[in-house]
C-alpha cells in the first residue's frame, strides 16, 4: 500500500529533447494543478533552435512548474523532481536537483551512443553516481510502445506518446485530476483518432503504472491554496497582454491596429490578437520591424489605436519611428517583451536590459512614458494602462515585459470587465481657434492646458485638415519651424507633457510591516518588472528569519511615481535587484542622488530567490548601526 504524504509545495522539472513534447507536458500538468486549486508558477526553458540535433545538450527543452497550497511568487529555484527523457536532459539539469531529490529517467534513450553524445563515459543510471538521489530508472518509451500497440502506429509515432505516459505517472504521484488532460487530448487530436487514442492510452497507462506497481512507496498530496473567492483561469503574460489590448480597445470603443513582425518571445501576442478580429482588431504581419511600427503609427493617425509588439532587437529598429510618434504626438503602444541581449543574444532566455534603450534609445530629446508588467497576469492591467496613457496624452507609450513572465503562467482571478473605466478618445471635431479675421481655425498643436496633449484630428473630419511630420513644429500651428526659441519651447513642452503624467499615476506603495516592538525596516528592496516574484518571495523568506525589510515595486518607470524620492530617502539602504547591470539603479541615482545598491544577475534566468534572500540577509546584517542620536545641545 502506497503511503500518502502531504506537502506544502513541489517543484517539478520536465526535461527532454526539443521534440519530446516537454512544453506540452508541463502545460498540461500546470492546467490540471491550477484547476485543482493550487497556486502555480511556471518557467518554460527551451532552445532557440526548433529542432537542435537530437540527444545533444543544446537540444534540451525543459518546463519547470511550482505548485503549492499557499501563494507562491516564483517557479522555484531547484526542482524537487526531475523527469529526464534522455542523457542530455539529465546532464543539463542534474546540478539543479538537490541531493535526495526524485529523478525519473527514461532508460530507453540511455544508449551507449546517446551517453557518448553528451560525454558520459558510463551510464549514470547504473554506475552509482546518482546514489544520493531517489532514482527511478524506468523504460517509459518501452512501456508506452507496448501500451499503444493496438493502434497500429509506427514505433516512432507510438514512442512519441511517452510524454503522456510520464504525465500520467506524475499525475498519479501527485494526485492530480485527469479530466482536463483527457478532454484536451480528445479535442486536440479529434481529427487523428489513432494518435488521440494512443495519447489517451499512454496517459492512462502511466497513471495506472504508478497505481499498480510498487515502484513508488510514497505518493503526495498538495492541498489547494487559499485564494479570494472568484472565477479563476490560468494565464501566461503574452496571453494576458493580448487580452488587455482587446479590453482597452473596447473600452475606448476604437478599432485597434497591430503592426508587428514575428520575434521571440513576443510573437504569441501577434498570433493571439489575429484570432480576435471580431473585436475590431486588425493584425498586420509586416515585412520588418520598422514597417510594423510604421503601419501602426499610420493607423493611429487615421484614428485607430496603433500597437506594435517586439523584443529588444526590434526595439532598436523601431526607434526612429517611435521618435516620429513623439514629434507627431500620436497615440501608439509599443510592447517590448525583453530577452537576453545584446544583438541576437539568447532569444528564448529572459533579461531586463532594455530599460535604458527604451528610455533613451532615440535621437534628440525624445521622452516616452514607460511602464512595466510585474507578473503574467499583471500584463493585462499594464496593457490597459498603456492604452489609457497613449490616448489621453497623445504619445507613444512603451510597455516592458520579458520572456520570463511572457511564457510563464499563473492563476488569475478573472477581472470584471465592466469595472474597467472607459478610455475617451476625445477626437477633435471642430476648429479650436479663430484667425485675425475671426474665421474658425484649427490649430493642431494647441494643447490641453492640463495634460498638454494636442488634439487628435483624424482624416475625414471637415475643416481639420492639417500636416504633421518629423520636422520641428511651431507651437500651436504645427507649421515647420526652425526658430531657436520655438525649438527650446517645444523640447521642454514635450518633456513637460510626459513628466506631467506623474499627476495621473498612483504613488509607489511600500510594503513595510512594522515589527511588534515598533522597529521599522532600514533596508528597502525596490524592483521593477518581472523580478516582482523572486523579490517578494525572498523578502518573505528574510522576514521569516526575524529580519526586517521593506519592499516596493515600480510599474511606472517614466515618469516615476511622485513619492519615489521620498520613499528612497526614508531608508538607510536601498537595494535594487535587476536582470541587467544596474539600469534602474543608474536612473535612480541620477534623478534622486540616492546611493542605491545594485543587485544584478544576467544569466538569462529569473533571479534566484534563495540566492537573493541570502544576499539580502548579508546586506541587512552588514548595515552599520545608525549613529546614536545626539541632541541639539550635545
Amino acid at each position: 500500500m502506497t503511503e500518502v504524504r502531504t506537502l506544502d509545495r513541489v517543484v517539478i522539472r520536465f526535461a527532454g529533447d526539443s521534440g519530446d513534447g516537454m512544453q506540452l507536458t508541463g502545460d498540461r500538468f500546470t492546467a490540471d494543478s491550477a484547476v485543482f486549486g493550487n497556486d502555480i508558477s511556471t518557467l518554460p526553458n527551451f532552445p532557440a533552435e526548433i529542432r537542435a540535433p537530437a540527444g545533444t545538450l543544446p537540444g534540451v527543452s525543459s518546463f519547470q512548474l511550482h505548485f503549492a497550497n499557499y501563494d507562491i511568487m516564483t517557479p522555484g529555484d531547484r526542482p524537487d523532481v526531475l523527469v529526464a527523457m534522455n542523457p542530455a536532459a539529465l546532464k543539463a539539469n542534474i546540478a539543479d536537483v538537490p541531493r535526495g531529490g526524485l529523478i525519473i529517467a527514461d532508460t530507453a534513450d540511455f544508449t551507449t551512443r546517446n551517453l557518448a553524445k553528451v560525454g558520459y563515459a558510463a551510464n549514470p543510471l547504473e554506475d552509482g553516481s546518482l546514489d544520493d538521489y531517489q532514482l527511478h530508472a524506468l523504460d517509459l518509451t518501452g512501456m508506452t510502445v507496448a501500451a499503444v500497440k493496438e493502434f497500429g502506429l509506427s514505433r516512432k509515432d507510438a514512442s512519441r506518446a511517452k510524454n503522456m505516459f510520464s504525465l500520467g505517472l506524475l499525475s498519479w504521484l501527485y494526485h492530480r485530476p485527469t479530466e482536463g488532460t483527457l478532454a484536451f487530448l480528445t479535442t486536440k487530436f479529434a481529427n487523428k483518432p489513432a494518435i488521440r487514442d494512443a495519447n489517451v492510452t499512454a496517459f492512462k497507462t502511466g497513471f495506472a503504472f504508478g497505481e499498480t506497481t510498487e515502484v513508488f512507496a510514497v505518493s503526495y498530496e498538495v492541498a489547494p491554496a487559499p485564494m479570494p473567492s472568484g472565477r479563476y483561469r490560468q494565464v501566461s503574460g503574452n496571453l494576458a497582454m493580448s487580452l488587455g489590448l482587446v479590453a482597452a480597445a473596447r473600452k475606448a470603443d476604437l478599432p485597434m491596429f497591430l503592426g508587428s513582425y514575428p520575434i521571440t518571445p513576443a510573437s504569441d501576442i501577434l498570433q493571439e490578437l489575429s484570432k480576435h478580429k471580431r473585436f475590431g482588431i486588425t493584425t498586420f504581419q509586416a515585412e520588418d520591424e520598422i514597417a510594423g511600427v510604421g503601419a501602426a503609427l499610420g493607423a493611429s493617425f487615421a484614428g485607430h489605436i496603433g500597437v506594435t509588439t517586439t523584443s529588444g532587437p526590434g526595439m532598436a529598429l523601431k526607434a526612429e519611428t517611435i521618435g516620429l510618434g513623439v514629434m507627431t504626438e500620436l497615440p501608439l503602444v509599443i510592447i517590448d517583451v525583453q530577452r537576453a541581449g545584446p544583438s541576437t543574444g539568447m532569444p528564448t532566455k529572459t533579461e531586463q536590459a532594455d530599460l535604458l534603450q527604451v528610455m533613451f534609445g532615440r535621437n534628440g530629446e525624445s521622452p516616452v512614458p514607460v511602464i512595466a508588467a510585474s507578473t503574467p497576469a499583471d500584463c493585462f492591467d499594464t496593457a490597459i494602462e498603456a492604452v489609457r496613457i497613449a490616448v489621453k496624452y497623445r504619445t507613444p507609450v512603451i510597455v516592458l515585459s520579458d520572456g520570463y513572465i511572457a511564457n510563464g503562467a499563473e492563476p488569475w482571478q478573472v477581472p470584471d470587465v465592466s469595472a474597467i473605466p472607459p478610455i475617451d478618445p476625445g477626437f477633435a471635431t471642430e476648429a479650436n481657434a479663430t484667425d485675425a479675421a475671426g474665421k474658425p481655425l484649427f490649430l493642431p498643436y494647441l494643447r490641453d492646458e492640463e495634460t498638454l496633449a494636442r488634439p487628435w484630428a483624424i482624416p475625414g473630419t471637415a475643416g481639420l485638415q492639417h500636416r504633421i511630420g518629423g520636422i520641428e513644429k511651431a507651437r500651436d500651428t504645427g507649421a515647420v519651424s526652425y526658430d531657436p526659441a520655438n525649438h527650446e519651447e517645444m523640447v521642454r513642452t514635450r518633456q513637460a507633457k510626459v513628466d506631467g503624467i506623474v499627476r495621473d499615476i498612483p504613488d509607489v506603495v511600500v510594503d513595510d510591516p512594522t515589527a511588534p516592538d515598533g522597529t521599522r525596516a532600514r533596508t528597502l528592496v525596490l524592483g521593477w518588472g518581472s523580478t516582482y516574484g523572486p523579490i517578494a518571495a525572498a523578502v518573505r523568506r528574510v522576514r521569516n528569519t526575524g529580519r526586517q525589510v521593506a519592499q516596493a515595486h515600480l510599474r511606472h518607470l517614466n515618469p516615476f511615481p511622485a513619492n519615489l524620492g521620498e520613499v528612497l530617502r526614508a531608508y538607510d539602504r536601498v537595494i535594487v535587484p535587476e536582470m541587467n547591470l544596474g539600469q534602474l539603479a543608474l536612473l535612480l541615482r541620477g534623478k534622486y542622488l540616492v546611493d542605491v545598491h545594485s543587485y544584478s544577475r544576467v544569466r538569462g534566468l529569473p533571479i534566484s530567490l534563495s540566492e537573493l534572500a541570502r544576499d539580502l540577509e548579508l546586506e541587512i546584517d552588514a548595515l552599520p548601526e545608525p549613529a546614536p542620536f545626539e541632541g541639539a545641545f550635545a
Binding site: V235, G298, G323
Partner: protein, 367 residues
C-alpha cells in the same frame, strides 16, 4: 465621450480606386487643395510642376479634401504634403509606404497618396516599396525620380547611371542603377506608369488612371533637379529630341514613335525580347499593340527594359501595366467584417473572451 462619424469596421468596398471615399457636395478648385504654406523648392525645380498638376487635378476627382491623406518620406519632394490642404504626414526616410499601409488599411474612406523620391523609395525604403506593391494596398505612389540626392546636396542615387561623378563618387559610381518601373513590375505591381514633370497633360492623364486603379499604383515621374542633376532627362523633354526619345505607351495602340512615326517596337516571338526598329523595315502590322491589361508581368517588364540604364536617351512613357487584383486593405477589412458580423463585441462578449475556456471557481467562504 467625443465621437465622430466614421465607417463601421470593415465596409469591404470594391470598385475603382476611390470607391468608398465620400464625394464633396461643393465642386472644389485648385485653391481648395492649396495650403497656406509657402512653397520652398529651388527655382526651376520639377517638383513645382508636379505640385501644380496635382492640385489642378485633385478637384476633378470630386472627393472631399478632408478624406485625402498624403504621406511622404524624406527628400526634396517629400515636402509636398505641406503644400496641399489635406491630411498629411511628412514622415521619416523610406517609411512612407509602410505608414500609408496603416492609413489605407484603417480607412476605406480615405484616398491615400504617397510622395517619395528615388533615394527614399528605392534605397532606404526599397524593402517597404516591394512589399506594398506585392500586397497591392490601395495607395497611389508618386515616385519623383531625379536620379540624384538633392536634399543632401548631390550624392548619387540608386537610379544614377553607372559611372556618375558626384561628391561621393569622384571617380564615378560603381553600382548598377535600378529601373523603378522594372523593379515595380518585378514585384508584380498591379499598376505601373511613367510620366514627365514638364508634360502636364500626360502627367495628369497618368494620375487620373492611377487614382482610378484599385490597389497600389506606382507612378514614376521623371523630375529634373536643376541644381545637382540638370538636364538628366533632356532627351525626353527637349522638343528637338523628344520625338525620338519617348516611346509612347497607349493602351490599344501600336507602339510607334519618332519623327514621322518612323520607329516602332516589335517583340521577338521566341525570346519575348522587345526592340526598337524602323517601321519601314518590318511593316506596321509587325508592331506591338500595347495591352496594359496583360496579366503576365513579363510583358510589361519586357517593355520597361527599353529604358536606357545609362545616360537617358530613350524611354517608354505611359501606363505599362494596369491589371485587376484584390487589394490587401479590402481583404483585411473583409476579414474583420466577417469576424464581426452577426457576432457581438459588447461587454458580455469581452467578458467571455477574458474568461477563456478553462476557468474554476473559488469560494473561500466554505472554509
Amino acid at each position: 465621450m467625443t465621437t465622430i462619424d466614421r465607417p463601421s469596421i470593415g465596409s469591404g468596398v470594391r470598385g475603382g480606386g476611390l470607391a468608398g471615399v465620400p464625394l464633396s457636395l461643393e465642386p472644389l478648385t485648385r485653391k481648395d487643395f492649396t495650403s497656406d504654406q509657402e512653397v520652398r523648392w529651388c527655382p526651376g525645380c520639377g517638383d513645382y510642376a508636379v505640385l501644380a498638376a496635382f492640385q489642378g487635378f485633385m478637384p476633378e476627382l470630386g472627393i472631399k479634401k478632408e478624406n485625402t491623406v498624403i504621406v511622404s518620406g524624406i527628400g526634396c519632394s517629400s515636402r509636398f504634403p505641406y503644400y496641399v490642404d489635406s491630411f498629411g504626414m511628412h514622415s521619416i526616410h523610406g517609411r512612407a509606404t509602410a505608414i500609408a499601409t496603416g492609413v489605407a488599411t484603417a480607412r476605406p474612406d480615405a484616398a491615400v497618396f504617397v510622395i517619395t523620391g528615388d533615394g527614399d523609395a528605392l534605397s532606404i525604403g526599397g524593402n517597404h516599396l516591394i512589399h506594398i506593391l506585392r500586397r497591392n494596398v490601395n495607395v497611389t505612389i508618386l515616385l519623383f525620380n531625379n536620379r540624384i540626392y538633392g536634399l543632401t546636396k548631390g550624392q548619387y542615387s540608386p537610379t544614377s547611371e553607372l559611372g556618375k561623378v558626384t561628391k561621393t563618387t569622384p571617380l564615378g559610381s560603381l553600382d548598377n542603377p535600378f529601373n523603378p518601373v522594372s523593379l515595380a513590375i518585378g514585384a508584380e505591381a498591379t499598376f505601373v506608369a511613367r510620366t514627365i514633370d514638364s508634360d502636364r497633360k500626360h502627367l495628369t492623364s497618368v494620375l487620373r488612371a492611377a487614382a482610378a486603379h484599385r490597389g497600389t499604383s506606382l507612378v514614376e515621374i521623371y523630375q529634373n533637379c536643376p541644381i545637382f542633376n540638370d538636364d538628366a532627362f533632356a532627351a525626353v523633354k527637349d522638343r528637338e529630341t523628344s520625338a525620338d526619345a519617348i516611346i509612347p505607351l497607349t493602351h490599344g495602340e501600336p507602339i510607334r514613335f519618332g519623327e514621322g512615326l518612323r520607329l516602332g517596337v516589335v517583340r521577338d516571338s521566341r525570346t519575348g525580347e522587345f526592340s526598337v526598329v524602323e517601321v519601314d523595315a518590318v511593316g506596321v502590322d509587325a508592331l506591338v499593340v500595347h495591352d496594359a491589361h496583360i496579366q503576365d508581368p513579363s510583358y510589361a517588364f519586357g517593355l520597361s527594359r527599353l529604358t536606357d540604364a545609362g545616360v537617358l536617351h530613350r524611354a517608354p512613357i505611359g501606363v505599362f501595366r494596369d491589371v485587376e487584383a484584390p487589394a490587401y486593405d479590402d481583404l483585411a477589412r473583409d476579414q474583420v467584417a466577417l469576424a464581426t458580423s452577426g457576432r457581438s463585441h459588447d461587454e458580455a462578449a469581452l467578458q467571455d473572451l477574458v474568461n477563456g475556456g478553462d476557468t474554476w471557481l473559488v469560494d473561500d467562504t466554505e472554509d
